[in-house]
Symmetry: C2
Subunit: 318 residues, 2 copies
């Protein structure tokens, strides 16, 4: 009666099993074919190679796995026991390979996209429907977040792709290990009520609207408007404020105010009772997709990014 197992040297910090799983799989082929030579042929190896694997297994196990019976071999009781576990092992391995292949070939995966409202309704919506049709297995999640919150989510690992916009004077801080993919240049438009005197003008400048009452959009847009009007030499009379571009247009349509809206918002929803005019001499906002650098090589994220780019280009071509 031995006090303890002679093979279990606990001083060495190894965690790998004494039985080489590869050898077990090879032994499984021996069990399937019933001979070392047969297994070698299946594996595309020579017979001694297989023989050595079995020998190593037997040395590690301390039990004969094969009984050499003259010509040929017979699996022992212990060998049969190992073969049962070998099936479980092969199954686990097979399942693992398939699940990873699913991820690699876009039959599985998850992409969490964060986007601001007007891009959600345009670029993201198209991209998501495109992806869902092409790759039904991918778990797509779209969350509506303004750029700063989207980037924070990206940094926290709460999303994979952040669709954001920024003005040239933008305060958007992109994480250090992130990549920016330009999606679109989104010029600003002046939105006027029908019959407004300026609608006849070929070109409208910001200071043409110095005496109007205003409705502004989201915080960034409002801040940018203030910067721009300040540069133009006046302070706008802001009467209403909402981040909902449908509401902005409704207010304009009812002649309560004028507004500046990005083209993208107007593509998302256009009130027929307003007129839209290019804003001369004014830098557009830039729309881009931000991803963590390490996420780009994830197939599902890469495919989603490509779909977002396609959607943006399709939108650009009217």
């Amino acid at each position: 009666m031995e006090p303890h197992e002679p093979h279990a040297d606990l001083d060495a910090p190894r965690a790998l099993p004494a039985l080489d799983p590869r050898s077990i799989l090879i032994f499984r082929e021996v069990g399937r074919t019933g001979s070392l030579t047969g297994a070698a042929q299946v594996l595309g190896w020579t017979q001694p190679a297989v023989s050595q694997h079995v020998r190593r297994l037997e040395a590690a196990a301390g039990v004969p796995l094969l009984a050499r019976e003259g010509r040929g071999v017979v699996v022992t009781d212990a060998g049969r026991a190992l073969l049962r576990h070998a099936d479980a092992l092969a199954a686990a391995l097979h399942d693992a390979e398939h699940e990873l292949a699913d991820h690699a070939h876009l039959r599985a995966g998850r992409v969490r996209i964060a986007s601001f409202p007007s891009a959600s309704a345009t670029i993201a919506a198209r991209a998501v429907s495109d992806l869902a049709e092409r790759f039904p297995g991918i778990d797509l999640r779209l969350e509506q977040l303004e750029p700063p919150e989207a980037l924070r989510a990206l940094e926290e690992g709460a999303c994979d792709i952040a669709i954001v916009f920024e003005y040239d004077d933008g305060h958007v801080s992109v994480p250090a290990d992130a990549d920016r993919t330009p999606l679109a240049v989104d010029p600003l438009q002046i939105v006027l009520p029908p019959g407004h005197p300026l609608t006849a003008r070929a070109e409208i400048r910001l200071d043409d609207l110095a005496d109007e009452q205003w409705v502004t959009g989201c915080i960034s847009c409002r801040r940018h408007l203030l910067t721009s009007t300040s540069a133009a030499g006046f302070t706008p009379d802001i009467r209403h404020s909402t981040d909902d571009y449908v509401v902005v247009q409704a207010l304009v349509a009812t002649r309560m105010a004028v507004a500046v809206l990005p083209s993208l918002a107007l593509r998302a929803s256009r009130n027929p009772d307003v007129t839209v005019h290019p804003l001369a001499d004014h830098a557009p906002r830039r729309v881009s997709a931000i991803t963590r650098r390490s996420a780009r090589s994830v197939p599902s994220v890469g495919a989603a990014l490509a779909a977002i780019q396609r959607a943006a280009q399709a939108l650009d071509a009217h």
Copy 2:
């Protein structure tokens, strides 16, 4: 849409998985510790070794498993999927190791012993009870077979140890790849009814019994008796025949016949109404255990063989 998987080259006859199971187990440690360095410490390796394993896995899978996040790494979705399967894999491996260790340390296994009657009642019975006590996990099976049938069972793989006897003129054919373990020298005894005239003699020879009526044992014993009496110059008057040594002694006790029985049979069961006398000038039968050569290294068979040897020696020492 691709017509088929680019990685599945069916022309090559390989059956081994693209994902090295060892690497998967290493990656499992990465998942457990949360870092490459931590896994390396657990494994007793350097960090680049672990890093290379993960890199190889990622190349084989076509999916990143870790996201390199500045200092440290984070497991990706695909990595988490792999870790789930890695647990199943490790469990299968763990179970396999334990079951083989059970076989190696005699906590599991099977031994099928074939033995002739008088050895079953003596040597085999003691050995089996000894083994059952020492190693409760071993599945012990004893079958009663005369030597020729026992050897045939051994050859067919229907038993692991055959306990047989043979006379010097024995016709027992031992298989080519079998080992013989001598167990005992089993002298023959003359069995006489109480009060028989010869019981007073110091030494009895076979031809002293030429005029008696006989009862014989099993076929081999009967054949050997005929050979011996022929050499002694007479033909015995055989009136009764049975392979049951209890019956033989009963017939002798009722003065129906005399008999020759091996000592082992008399050790197994001794009728108090008979007297037993050494048979001078007569070769004993030899009792031995036969095993296939390949079976001797099977722990349970080896332990059983040792127990049988111990039982035979204990019996020999009265």
